[in-house]
Symmetry: C2
Subunit: 229 residues, 2 copies
DNA sequence: CTGACTTTGTGCGCGCGTTCACAAGTGCGT
DNA sequence: ACGCACTTGTGAACGCGCGCACAAAGTCAG
């Protein structure tokens, strides 16, 4: 369960239940977005082929993914758009309307707070925190920034935390969140965090993504030079 | 090669050469960061066990990863920190000092431009573009924002593009980048982009990450309720 | 020089995820 | 009522990546 990477099961001991594969879970939000777009366009049903195209995946994969959360399609017809939206939302827990606490209101934090995609469906930022007294009291996206010292009071009933602080403070903030009862953390700080086993941790590292692209460019360039020689 | 997800090989036809696994490439930047930290701390050698701990991975995995880019360790001793930094940097193409063009200077774009992690080692933003005339001319992180119409002139010699625009404009911007010769794209807009086969595409989707955490919270909660019942 | 200790590099088995290909189910036209 | 066209759901094969466990290789003390 702990230290789950942006792409990896994690898993400790307990978990099975109805076992939806981690890889599938990671794609459900994409399907959901595509379905919303279709619904807004007035569509009521959609075939796996079409939806797969829209989501940028293989149609067989899509069907297998959906089959993991029950069979909600009709052979010969396809899937009912609004019904599928409901089922995926339920599976993702979006119908529970979890709140999120965001720590660190720098440029990235502001971007996240203002990010339409968050509030769009089911998830909403419930609190903003920062260590800088200058920022406390500021209004962002309809919320008032509070001081990090208020963290224990603020996170009552909130189980998801987002860390958008500098790397140096990330582990400390992480520990505070865990101590306050947060059990899922999304880390944007460029550091490896350690958390207790019962806490889910995901990371998004902007510079790593770029370095991976750099690698591919490097490889392409080396290949091209090799061909020239 | 096209439509590579944040976690998946991609692959079209050509590629082998010396074949470093995609999963390994994704971890190299993490090792690199840990190594820099060790070097700054004055360390000259490090064992796989130690470095693995620092990077949050299994030590066997670390050794296998490093073995993919040649054997640079000394049995009984460990790895030479600075030498390893050089080798990983070379493998990632960071010694080529690629420049990056960033399109979209909203909150997210600003965050990216100011992100220390970028410039840190080998990669630097070479140009900022935006469609909003209000923002053109503005100075951000030492660069002047230019208009998107200048894209063809600006990206000369730049092969990596970052898209931080709203979803609606992303595909259009993507096409412009590709037309201008960019062959690697990092997309932050919440949309599925399509690119020609020779272009590498990675995406970072903030809301998807949160929805995945929501799923895990949902599952934990359901499990707890199940135990109570 | 020898032997004990440390650490790397890797062969092997296992499980997950992807994909193909097809059987089974559904609606529509005649 | 019947068959045809369409689409789902899944069995099976394949390949990748992970982690264990160990042999090879090097260091250091005496």
């Amino acid at each position: 369960m702990s230290t789950a990477d942006a792409s990896g099961p994690s898993e400790g001991a307990a978990a099975p239940r109805r076992g939806v594969p981690e890889a599938t879970v990671a794609r459900l939000p994409v399907y959901l977005r595509a379905l919303h777009a279709l619904a807004d366009g007035g569509r009521t049903t959609v075939s796996s082929e079409e939806l797969a195209e829209e989501a940028g995946v293989n149609s067989a994969k899509l069907r297998k993914d959906l089959s993991h959360l029950g069979s909600y399609g009709t052979r010969g017809v396809g899937y009912d758009v609004s019904h599928l939206v409901g089922e995926i939302s339920r599976e993702l827990g979006l119908s529970r309307h979890f709140s999120v606490v965001l720590v660190g209101v720098g440029n990235l934090g502001r971007a996240l707070a203002g990010y339409g995609g968050f509030a769009t469906r089911g998830l909403a930022i419930g609190a903003l925190l920062d260590a800088d007294r200058e920022r406390v009291g500021e209004q962002i996206a309809g919320l008032t920034v509070r001081h990090i010292d208020d963290l224990p009071d603020v996170v009552t009933g909130i189980s998801i935390g987002v860390i958008a602080t500098p790397a140096a403070e990330a582990q400390q903030v992480c520990d505070l969140l865990v101590a306050a009862g947060v059990t899922s953390i999304l880390n944007f700080a460029p550091t490896v965090l350690s958390v207790p086993g019962h806490v889910d941790l995901r990371k998004v590292d902007l510079s790593i993504e770029l370095q991976i692209l750099s690698f591919h460019e490097h490889r392409k360039a080396a290949l091209a030079e090799g061909l020239l020689a």
